[in-house]
């Protein structure tokens, strides 16, 4: 044994980089770290700068009054607040149109997910899934245009008139379906929103359902369960939390949707019980009045935006927590 006597192949210190190479690695690391942090920075800046502008409006109008009263009289002052800013009508419009959207899109998405995952012939599954996903690629202004000039006059208005005519006179629920039916209203915006959020709910619901253990499905079939029983008692039961998360993600999308809603929801700065009322949503109100707004009103619109942001972020975070367990969902619709 001649430990320590043989010659070392080379001096380890030769490996140490000299000159600029020494800084290459730390530099690269720092740059990518900065890029990673930039996401948080942008989000922070987003919250900071808008809240700063919205604060005077909240103080002037009162936080409670801003969110619960529905009188919106835009002022025209350059550097002081003179109008009345109650955003309740827009909050109501946002909530009711999104609710209508979820009530239509959720059952449809669950059915579509079950069909694609369990019933469709295997070789069509990807194609079908991708066809539904393509709905997410359509720009929202195209939905607005199509909804306004094609889908509403051809389909939604006749349906609305029919519903209003039959259900408008029923004692208790009648008020919800009360006419007259204007060309743009909550119901029409809700229907187009439903089409827009269908792909995201479907994409996530499909992913959640696909995670049902094959053993349990096989066991259920082995005990003589029918297709429907397997879906209802095994797949749907297991994927319930994930589907709730998926629908909240869809809800978040619907709440924040701007252009299509602005084009279809009506435009009156008031609210009404009837689903056929031509109201306004938060995002829609910002988009449609921004251009003619005086400086003080722009601040009030930013305040509406902050309210909208808070609502959508809470809904989104809840959704992410619920869907977290299944990992992050791939696919274009979920982005």
């Amino acid at each position: 044994m001649s430990l320590g006597t043989e010659q070392r192949p080379f001096d380890p210190t030769d490996l140490r980089a000299t000159g600029s190479a020494r800084w290459a690695d730390p530099l690269f690391r720092t740059i990518s770290f900065a890029a990673g942090i930039s996401v948080l920075l942008v989000l922070g800046l987003m919250i900071g700068s808008t809240t700063l502008d919205a604060l005077p409006v909240f103080q002037y109008q009162g936080l409670v009054s801003f969110f619960t009263t529905s009188e919106w009289n835009a002022g025209s002052s350059r550097n002081e607040l003179t109008g009345t800013y109650g955003a309740f009508a827009f909050i109501y419009g946002t909530l009711i149109s999104s609710l209508i959207a979820i009530m239509i899109a959720l059952p449809l998405s669950i059915a579509v997910s079950l069909y694609i995952n369990r019933i469709a012939p295997k070789r069509f599954r990807t194609t079908l899934a991708y066809t539904v996903e393509l709905l997410a690629a359509v720009p929202s202004v195209v939905y607005g245009l199509w909804g306004l000039l094609s889908f509403t006059p051809a389909v939604l208005l006749p349906v609305s008139r029919f519903l209003s005519g039959y259900l408008g006179d029923v004692p208790v629920i009648g008020r919800i379906f009360e006419g007259p039916v204007p060309n743009t209203n909550y119901f029409i915006a809700g229907n187009v929103l439903a089409i827009m959020i269908l792909p995201i709910i479907t994409a996530i619901a499909r992913e959640v359902m696909a995670q049902t253990p094959a053993d349990q499905i096989d066991a259920a079939y082995g005990m003589g369960a029918t297709d429907w029983e397997v879906m209802r008692k095994v797949i749907l039961r297991r994927s319930f939390p994930g589907i709730v998360g998926a629908s909240m993600l869809g809800l978040g999308r619907a709440l924040g949707e701007t252009i299509a809603v602005a084009m279809l929801i009506g435009g009156q700065q008031r609210w009404g019980i009837s689903i056929f009322f031509a109201g306004q949503s938060m995002a829609g109100h910002i988009a449609s009045t921004f251009q003619d707004a005086a400086p003080e009103t722009v601040n009030a619109l930013i305040a509406v935006g902050v309210g909208l942001f808070v609502i959508t972020v809470i809904v989104n975070m809840l959704a992410r927590v619920l869907v977290w367990r299944i990992g992050r969902v791939a696919g274009d619709a979920a982005l």
Binding site: G36, V112, I119, A137, S140, V141, L145, L149, W228, I302
Partner: protein, 295 residues
């Protein structure tokens, strides 16, 4: 002791199905039909949109539409060249910002990220994908437009804020698909970490990264609300980088759809057709690239 059948059931052959089971099977068949109907209902809107956009947009589409500016009032003809230029201008600028930053952020998350900060960044990236686009517009307005005015620069910045989380998320997923062995092999050959990332990881993940970027570009090209508050819109071709309101296809479609004139609406349909072709080409080729590289 052998199992005994009840006397009533003893005579039933295996072929006969008792009413209860028959009902269950019927119900299952009924539900299958219902689900098929739901599937059909769900894909109808896509085809309706495609058919309507082509049918009503095609007559106004043409060389004139692509090369001329929109005339005033109800004059027929003219086109959206100012919008097309504006969209390419702003989306191009937004891509230049958000693609490098987004991919670098994804590199940080995958290659360097450890500890709670990574989780926080990842979570808030997800949250950012859900931020309403009109709020992004308000943010850029409050931060920049009030000081330096409307223009392509602020519009592009707004679009890049929309694109960033999409690119970070998709790139992160793609970088994770690069096998750990390749990184180890590269390190074993003596490459530094940044060399491994630049020369091994990124080239391997390139098709996937391209896919994510293309989807983000498609999303930005169809964006309206952000531009409404930052680019504002214009009736002429604008090539100034900042300080002058600029048009985009989406803004022109939004305003055209609300015009009471059939001519204006027809131009809006043609604009929608242009947008749809652009967005679908991007989305479908992104899909093609990613499916080809996965094989």
């Amino acid at each position: 002791m052998s199992a005994t059948l009840s006397p009533e059931r003893e005579h039933l052959s295996l072929r006969t199905i008792d009413p209860y089971t028959r009902r269950r099977k019927q119900r299952s068949r009924f539900v299958r039909g219902l689900l098929l109907a739901a599937m059909v209902v769900a894909v109808i809107p896509l085809f309706l949109i495609l058919i309507e956009v082509v049918r009503r947009g095609w007559p106004a589409m043409g060389w004139e539409f692509l090369t001329q500016v929109q005339p005033s009032g109800r004059t027929p003809g003219g086109g959206y060249v100012h919008g097309i230029i504006g969209t390419f201008y702003m989306v191009g600028f937004a891509t230049l910002i958000s693609v490098p930053v987004g991919i670098l952020a994804a590199i940080y998350l995958v290659e360097y990220g450890r500890g709670p900060l990574t989780g926080i960044i990842r979570f808030f990236t997800d949250v950012m994908t859900g931020v309403p686009s009109v709020f992004v517009g308000l943010f850029i307005y409050a931060l920049l437009v009030r000081q330096i005015g409307f223009g392509a620069f602020v519009g592009g910045l707004g679009l890049s804020v929309m694109m960033l989380p999409i690119i970070v998320r998709s790139s992160e997923e793609m970088l994770r698909l690069v096998p750990e062995d390749q990184r180890a092999a590269s390190a074993g050959l003596g490459a530094r970490k940044w060399q491994t990332i630049m020369k091994v990881v990124l080239p391997t993940a390139a098709p996937g990264l391209t896919t994510g970027a293309m989807l983000a570009v498609a999303r930005a090209a169809g964006e309206t609300a952000v531009l409404l508050l930052t680019a504002l819109g214009s009736l002429q071709v604008v090539n100034q980088f900042q300080g002058q309101p600029i048009a985009s296809i989406t803004l022109l479609v939004y305003r055209g759809a609300r015009q009471p004139f059939a001519e204006g609406q027809q131009r809006a349909w043609a604009g929608a057709l242009f947008l749809m072709v652009m967005v679908l080409l991007l989305t479908l080729s992104a899909r093609y690239i990613s499916s080809r590289s996965r094989r």
